[in-house]
Symmetry: C2
Subunit: 454 residues, 2 copies
């Protein structure tokens, strides 16, 4: 009799499990169907790119972007929309140009300032350049060879990696640490080859570490890096003139936050976000307009489809991922001060191409739990869920013990566009973007429904 | 002692297997490294698109394309390059236009002729249109409602399918069979909504079955299909004028074939190909310039890397996949007549986007055998190998018992471009294309090395 009862309980459990699985599959199908037939977010991304390109922290366009998206989130019917204020240093680039002197002629280079580059005198800085392939090469050459010169970092991304983010991370020290190391040995400016896989004419900007004094620092397009290198081989005393007009400022700014109240645990928050800021030279379509709109899509679909989130869903459009990463830190501080429980956090900041996978930054147990549900996303091309990081904006929540996740789309095209004028709305494909929105909403649905982050 | 010997043999076998696996992984890495650092095929694709767009069978550009690619294959150092001649009906489109009459004004429609549309009189055909959503709707309406009219097929692709090829195959009967069914019930012309997921201004052409007499048949862009439908709701007697100037011809043409001789079984051929022809309105970059150049890349890499193919590798650039599929049939006939043993055949004709999978059209045993090697392609994003078809050009080899395979890339963007002016070289990404070339070369390497097609 006892065994019979046990069997009964087991059957009941199996039936419930099967039912829950079927119900989840149906809900996820609803999410995808809705995402792929609703153009609202795509149009809003177009508007954001058009009305507020170059929306770096502290710039007029960053405030326009906040207004535009605040209104959008209110119109979507979020329960609460508010600005989480913080102050931060910022940097405004007014203009930048550079030329190389070939046979007495000043040949313009396709370039842009890195942030936060120092300004030059009005007539620019003018000096011989010295080409290097690494930070270590500068250290080996030492002050004797470097002082008074412009250091030119010209190592390419490694094209043979399938994972372009790996190639990026191996090349990008020339940009992030290059100007600092050049300055340490007496260089008066630095030039970095754009961190981009292809040979093209787009300069790709980005941030560098600039503690204390700093030097003018620029990036040149990969094509012009090749030209510069070739000209230097002909004339080892080749001079370059760099002009940068930029300004360090302080600003009061905001993370934009919108909540959709949970039905059972409204005080626990599932965060989903991207960053609203974008470099001065770009519309910031893939980086990270897409991530912002995919995040607002999660809220929109939970509301429109009546998905009954148990916990509150919190969309955060972070300010300043690009320059000083101050928005992510500010939200973590806000969380600590107000004893907010963030149950889980998901970030989309790796492009809006066709979906490939999620990374989970949490305990092995939580990673395994979430992986068990991957089969529900497989029919939509989301091929795996693996251990990994979340993202720059939600990163500071890790110390608070929040399980993190990152949405990852196909990465072959990302660095053609990243931090350049080529990162524009017309390079975002509606279906690719919305399959991502659906993948993100589905993951959050599963996390919330089956308590997967504990 | 006997058991000890058995154990020895087992260990030897395991060691050999491990060695073979390691060697394969190393070779495959070499293939990918070579593909992703060699721009020759990409530049040649640019040239093909620029010099020979609209290279439909029988057109001057189709012969230019053959010449261009023959020279290219000779320069690559193929052992044999030859033209396999055949004759076929063909069709030349000289011009096509259409207008809808709104309040006495002729409003131009974004359209193109389907192949092989009949010509209209010079002043065009002018008639009321009748909008339908399916072939069956025409059959239900019957001759009474259809006779003398222009049938307008306006069913969309189903956007909710993740698999866009499935959505295509469910919508495309309006194009392939639509004109025939319309004619059967007395229509004087037909209009098909472009088979495309998005609302845009590109007309997408394609073929229709035209046995015996045929009517003028066109496609309109999805945006103009919407406009036409809206105008028809306002004026149920809306008239459209269609002008097509086209010509049915006979042509002597060629499949272009290049062989790289095998070291052990030179009389067994591993076929790899795409089709060289492209519709009159397009550069045919993804469809199927990419497939052609990915196929030539297989030969180039086997040669340049000294991969020692046991069997001969045969690149075939088929003529006429688009209109009458005569090139594929002609090669199968050639094979039969000359008693050629095609050991295996691989086709790339589904776009040159980021690699996703291979389909294998062969016995379960062969499919399983090949699947065992998928793990070697996984690190490069080739996520699975599944049972499925090969492709239109190699399809006729199935009857001869040849195991077939199809290369499949990510399909979200394909139908934005397919058979339209939007299918242009600038929409092909170098890395995406070359990851495909490498995947194809790797598959062929494995098939040949481990005798997987038997």
């Amino acid at each position: 009799m006892k065994n019979l009862f046990k069997l009964f309980l087991l059957l009941l459990f199996l039936q419930n499990t099967a039912f829950a699985q079927e119900e989840s599959a149906t809900t996820i199908k609803k999410i995808y169907d809705n995402a792929i037939t609703t153009h609202q977010a795509y149009h809003q991304l177009g508007l954001l790119c058009e009305k507020a390109p170059g929306r770096l922290i502290g710039t007029p366009n960053s405030f326009i972007a906040v207004d535009l998206m605040k209104k959008y989130l209110e119109d979507l019917g979020a329960d609460t929309v508010f600005l989480q204020a913080f102050s931060s240093p910022a940097w405004i680039c007014h203009s930048a140009s550079a030329t190389m002197n070939v046979n007495g002629k000043e040949i313009p280079l396709k370039m842009d300032a890195l942030g936060p580059s120092a300004s030059t005198p009005k007539k620019g800085v003018n000096a011989e350049i010295i080409e290097v392939m690494s930070l270590d090469e500068v250290r080996v050459l030492g002050r004797e060879k470097i002082e008074g010169k412009i250091v030119f970092y010209n190592r390419s991304m490694n094209p043979t990696y399938y994972n372009t983010f790996r190639a990026y991370s191996e090349a990008v020290d020339q940009r992030t640490a290059g100007p600092g190391v050049a300055k340490e040995f007496g260089a008066i400016a630095s030039i970095t080859r754009s961190v981009n896989n292809n040979l093209d004419d787009f300069p790709h900007t980005g941030t560098f570490h600039a503690e204390g004094d700093k030097i003018p620092a620029i990036a040149v397009s990969t094509n012009d890096a090749e030209k510069l290198s070739a000209a230097l081989k002909i004339n080892p005393h080749l001079k370059v003139n760099i002009k940068v007009d930029a300004e360090d400022i302080s600003t009061n700014t905001y993370n934009l936050i919108a909540d959709l109240k949970g039905s059972e645990k409204p005080d626990e928050y599932i965060v989903v976000g991207g960053h609203l800021d974008a470099w001065h030279n770009t519309q910031g379509a893939h980086d990270d307009g897409v991530g912002c709109l995919q995040s607002t899509e999660v809220l929109r679909m939970f509301k429109d489809l009546g998905l009954q989130n148990k916990r509150s869903i919190r969309v955060i459009l972070f300010m300043d991922e690009e320059l000083y990463q101050s928005g992510g830190k500010a939200y973590a501080d806000f969380t600590r001060e107000n004893k907010i429980k963030n149950y889980f956090a998901l970030e989309s900041d790796a492009g809006g191409f066709t979906p490939r996978f999620f990374t989970i930054g949490a305990s092995k147990e939580i990673v395994s739990k979430i992986q068990e549900y991957q089969y529900l996303l497989q029919p939509y091309g989301l091929e795996k869920i693996i251990a990994g990081g979340g993202g720059v904006d939600i990163g500071p929540l890790k110390k608070l013990g929040v399980p993190l996740a990152g949405y990852r789309s196909d990465w072959q095209r990302y660095f053609d566009m990243h931090h350049s004028a080529n990162d524009k709305f017309e390079n975002v494909n509606f279906r690719e973007m919305q399959l991502g929105s659906a993948a993100m909403a589905s993951l959050i649905y599963l996390i919330d429904q089956f308590d997967l982050a504990e």
